[in-house]
């Protein structure tokens, strides 16, 4: 009899508690599984190399790659080249975003321009930016301007297309309302078009950030523009295999960082977007 309150009490709160606990357990299980997956790949590669199943001249042990990586971290040239790569990426991306957003807003807000430029955009967009490599080499050689033009061309199109989608997505009622309140074109752009287009701009940012990194590294590797990509080429041609891998790992981690950052920025914007929508409806 005295035990009945004790047995009765748990179900009252227990209905929710085990569920949250199991969700948290699942999430922590996923984290551990993810770490396990990374370990499997690292240890697997180490074993493949140590046992000679894969020629260590092609795939050095992972421990050697990381030894080389940590050695690089203490050297000035590494940080200098890292900075050059990140700077080239950031400048190219910023220019592509600025140009894409401005051009997109202008073309997108004028129906005639939109229809008139459509075929040209559809034609220019799929032209591979690497087709421009010979041209930029002639014009700028190995100067950073070569990489800049390639990055700009490659990253501009996804931005432009997303902004055009975004501007086309504007609610006509909202636009008409703004007009009937005698908002000027600039104010309409700022308070009606911009909020609608913002999620699209964030998508554009995510796509363009990844493309820009690919082209920056390509320009460094293929043309010889200073940066980590060029160092990869140097390490490979001087048969320094662990360093080649170490640099590839670094470039991959930059890519991961770029993706995470873009997703973080995007999630902020989307959260804002949906919260505004939620309040109004």
């Amino acid at each position: 009899m005295s035990s009945s309150p004790a047995t009765l009490a748990p179900p009252a709160s227990g209905g929710t508690r085990p569920r949250t606990r199991s969700r948290r357990a699942r999430r922590s299980r996923d984290v551990w599984l993810g770490i396990l997956g990374v370990l499997i790949v690292l240890v697997g590669a180490e074993i493949l190399s140590r046992t000679g199943i894969v020629n260590p001249a092609f795939l050095p042990p992972v421990t050697e790659m990381y030894a080389s990586l940590f050695q690089m971290l203490g050297e000035g040239w590494f940080w200098e080249n890292l900075w050059l790569t990140v700077r080239g990426w950031a400048i190219g991306l910023a220019a592509a975003m600025a140009l894409g957003i401005v051009v997109g807003f202008i073309i997108g807000s004028v129906p005639f321009l939109r229809a008139f430029t459509n075929s040209t955009i559809e034609f220019l967009r799929p032209i591979p930016s690497v087709a421009l490599i010979p041209l930029v080499v002639l014009l700028f050689g190995t100067k950073p301007a070569s990489a800049f033009l390639l990055v700009l061309y490659a990253a501009f199109w996804p931005v432009l297309v997303q902004v055009l989608y975004g501007v086309a997505d504007v609610d006509p009622v909202a636009r008409d309302t703004a007009r009937s309140y005698q908002f000027g074109p600039l104010r309409i752009a700022r308070s009606v078009i911009y909020p609608t287009a913002l999620p699209y701009i964030m998508t554009a940012f995510r796509l363009a950030a990844a493309v820009a990194l690919i082209l920056e590294i390509t320009a460094e590797l293929v043309i010889g523009v200073p940066g980590l990509g060029k160092q990869i080429g140097i390490a490979q041609s001087s048969a320094n295999v662990p360093e080649t891998y170490a640099l590839v790992i670094v470039v991959g981690l930059i890519g991961v960082a770029v993706n995470l950052m873009a997703r973080f920025v995007e999630r902020k914007a989307l959260w804002w977007h949906s919260s505004v929508r939620g309040e109004h409806s």
């Binding site: 299980r29 996923d30 599984l33 993810g34 770490i35 396990l36 997956g37 990374v38 499997i40 790949v41 001249a57 092609f58 229809a115 008139f116 430029t117 459509n118 075929s119 040209t120 034609f123 967009r125 799929p126 032209i127 591979p128 930016s129 690497v130 087709a131 421009l132 490599i133 010979p134 041209l135 080499v137 002639l138 014009l139 990844a210 990194l213 690919i214 590294i217 390509t218 590797l221 293929v222 990509g229 990869i232 080429g233 390490a235 490979q236 295999v241 080649t244 891998y245 640099l247 590839v248 470039v251 991959g252 981690l253 930059i254 890519g255 991961v256 770029v258 993706n259």
Partner: protein, 259 residues
């Protein structure tokens, strides 16, 4: 009639203006880097002869086709397996995130270590590996994002595992798979070109760079134009295939938007 004219004007107006602008702006050009458009067009047929097309362009496109097809095959199979199993997904996610983030061109020096870069193998592997990640990850997302009701319905109708896979899971994931394949195709074209830039090589990309190195500038321009046309053509073919295979999806989206 007037609407037809108007449509033709909208479609062709700007391209004609741009080409004309290029034509006249470059007409008297003596700059070695910007030859007159007329010179470039004259150089086109003599540059891209049958011999060159068979010896350079076709092999490049064949490598792209083989690499892309391999990536689609492996990407869909592995992506479906990972997407269907939460454990496998948790296990593979961080590793996949890393491989996706590696800019594909750095694969070139790595693969050069293994296979060398004069033969087809290294190039095909480069293209296939570069194309794989967008297809794989989008397949995973597509399979994971399937509506649970669909799976439950298929189960309650006692569809076998294979039928469920073939008629429910894959069609349901196909819009995402196509998104991945489209990204992969443009990466594939990039890799097709730059995989030919290392070592002595033949191929479309190799030919263009040889023109540039030997300062055959009009020929180089014809190569850039040809490469651009190929990019446009591949995108157009992809769109046709996508519209055909995803016709149900496009229709469904239109209905959803209409309502």
């Amino acid at each position: 009639m007037t609407t037809l004219l108007k449509r033709a004007f909208m479609l062709l107006g700007l391209p004609i203006i741009l080409v004309a602008a290029w034509w006249f702006a470059s007409a008297g050009s003596t700059s070695p880097f910007w030859p007159p458009l007329s010179t470039i067009l004259e150089a086109f047929p003599t540059t891209w002869t049958m011999d060159r097309i068979v010896g350079d362009v076709f092999p490049s496109l064949a490598r792209l086709g083989i690499g892309f097809a391999l990536a689609v095959l492996v990407g869909i199979v592995a992506g479906t397996a990972i997407g269907l199993s939460p454990t496998l997904r948790a296990l593979a996610e961080p590793v996949l995130e890393f491989f996706r983030a590696v800019p594909p061109p750095v694969l070139v020096p790595i693969i050069a270590l293994f296979a060398g870069y004069t033969g087809w193998l290294g190039k095909i592997v480069t293209i296939a590996l570069g194309c794989l990640w967008p297809i794989l990850l989008n397949t995973v997302e597509g399979v994971r994002g399937l509506e649970p009701v669909l799976g439950d319905t298929a189960k309650s109708y006692q569809l076998s595992r294979w039928r469920r896979l073939l008629f429910v899971v894959l069609p349901g994931a196909s819009p995402r798979i196509f998104t991945g394949a489209r990204q992969a195709l443009s990466i594939g074209v990039i890799l097709m070109v730059i995989s030919e830039l290392f070592g002595a090589n033949r191929g479309l990309g190799a030919a263009i760079v040889q023109f540039q190195r030997s300062f055959a500038i009009p020929q180089m321009w014809t190569g850039i134009i040809l490469l651009g046309l190929i990019g446009v053509l591949l995108a157009a073919i992809f769109k046709v295939v996508e519209n055909r295979m995803l016709a149900w999806y496009v229709g469904q989206r239109q209905i959803e938007r209409g309502v």
